[in-house]
């Protein structure tokens, strides 16, 4: 292993500093020689030595991401999308699956240029170290770095709007209500606000969890209601999956008898039991925003600090339709 720029220089009959310039696409080298060097480099299977580059550049062009401990497919999808988004940049991403503390150690050791952390763990990270952006609900605390989040309130507003436009007057929300989790609370409150604004009947079902089965069980409650809703907003991907399954088992037709709109906007919504109409910031956009924010944060040097709430969008599929005539 190990063809270096010196090897290329010998082969191409130039000095190795010229090779370096050519490889870095410097304007200081004549086009013909540049092409020749590039060709030779490719022929010889040259792979740049990261360590050497880092040593002189003082930059690694690597971003560290702390893998969220919460096992949710939506988060996993986000991480995958972030990884993909980095491919279009000069940066690479590495992951750590440890606690925030050990992850930080690892990233320091690798001397990453920046970090991405999720809401659950960003409290843990001392502010003075590596450039950082956080994703998720910020809580109250003042922080010294950019925070990216979805505008949950706006999302719920849009979902309710969409269903109301379809003629639904009784729209239920199924989600985790009574919790410390700020994200869940923001969603529930967004729903309430949108409902009140329109003078509709509020009907929140507390799942006391975020699992598939929590949605499945919630339908039992809904079925027993004296006054049935015609539409349900599911608080998350998993919850909505359980809702749909239970509804089907009970012979309730979607969307004819019941419309369902799910929170979270990930591609997997398409391949659910029924293609799911959903609301949320599309995960690829979210990923791109996070990536461009951390890169800007690193390269601007200035200490950006702001909270950016991304605008959600509603993706229409098959799970929601006009309210049934009653």
């Amino acid at each position: 292993m190990g063809v270096t720029i010196k090897d290329i220089a010998k082969e191409a009959n130039v000095s190795y500093s010229t090779v370096s310039k050519a490889l870095n696409n410097s304007p200081l080298v004549k086009e013909v020689t540049k092409q020749k060097i590039l060709r030779v480099a490719k022929e010889m299977g040259y792979e740049p030595n990261l360590a050497a580059k880092q040593l002189v550049r003082k930059k690694t062009e690597v971003i560290g991401l702390i893998w969220p401990t919460i096992e949710r497919i939506v988060l996993a999808t986000l991480v995958t999308n972030i990884s993909k988004a980095f491919e279009a940049t000069k940066y690479s991403m590495i992951l750590s699956v440890d606690s925030a503390e050990t992850s930080l150690d690892t990233f320091k050791k690798f001397q990453v240029d920046g970090m991405i952390v999720f809401a659950e763990s960003h409290q843990m990270v001392p502010e003075d170290t590596i450039p950082l952006v956080a994703y998720g609900v910020s809580g109250k605390r003042k922080v010294a770095y950019p925070i990216i989040d979805a505008n949950h309130e706006q999302a719920m507003e849009q979902a309710v709007q969409y269903l109301a436009d379809l003629g639904h007057h009784h729209i239920a929300y199924v989600g985790h209500l009574d919790t410390e989790d700020a994200l869940q609370r923001e969603k529930a409150e967004g729903y309430q606000k949108a409902i009140k604004k329109r003078n509709l009947k509020q009907q929140s079902i507390d799942t006391s969890g975020l699992d598939w089965y929590d949605g499945y069980l919630a339908v039992e409650e809904i079925i027993q209601l004296p006054h049935q809703p015609t539409a349900i907003i599911g608080g998350s991907y998993d919850i909505s999956g359980g809702i749909v399954r239970s509804l089907h088992e009970k012979g309730v037709s979607i969307p004819n008898d019941m419309s369902v709109v799910s929170y979270d906007n990930i591609p997997q919504m398409e391949t659910m039991e029924i293609p799911m109409t959903c609301i949320g910031v599309p995960v690829d956009l979210l990923a791109e925003e996070i990536v461009s924010t951390i890169i800007h944060h690193i390269e601007s040097e200035g200490s950006d600090e702001f909270i950016k709430k991304l605008t959600p969008s509603l993706t229409e599929r098959k799970s929601a339709g006009p309210a049934p005539q009653s």
Copy 2:
């Protein structure tokens, strides 16, 4: 940032090569000076520069792991445990969540010393590159690297043995039977073999999936059986969770009316609805084996190639007990 060994040398009144030796715990430096240097280094907050070290050592002491695309909590737990196991070594681990191909590119770029891949993707990896160990069922193909796997047949033998010793004569297996997935097939076949060996009644329920709900549904089938089993072996963590839930909903007492033993041996078995008696290679042992194997594979230079089937063990908890008198 950036206190270097030269800074330490100045502070400690020694040459920087002595510092280097001391930091590397060389026997060529007197104990007192070594201690002094170590103290000064700590005081100054010295952090070794990985890039520089790599440049001269030609080794990164970094292992790359390709994050499995299959979203299962058991795999996620394994990855976490592998990460933890590396902490006791001089190696660090980085993760890639991309396809095998792009992950490989990333790892080449980082010049990792070795890689860990999972059964699903190791077909993809060219054999000539970086030292590699694979985890999971090997399939038929001959490979040129070590493969670590659990002995699934032996696991099922143990589970059946355990239940038979408790007086169970009718033991059902709930798992994904009709599948291309070699792992699932090995488990199902292991069960069959153990049953036949004892002339017991074989009763396999095909879940056609590995999800929680697949286990939940399987109980319906079992309930309708003319001749009820007194024990169930759940094919995976998720499946067993569904089984337990459904059993409880139907008022079946565990383990009084029905014993349940789950495949997979992860700590989460303890905190299920009922503490779960389970069978499988404990995930921490599995992780340690994988880690020590890749390290040995790297450091021995020789091209190890073998398949190592780890011995599973049964962890007794509350979900299985003596067969009811009938």
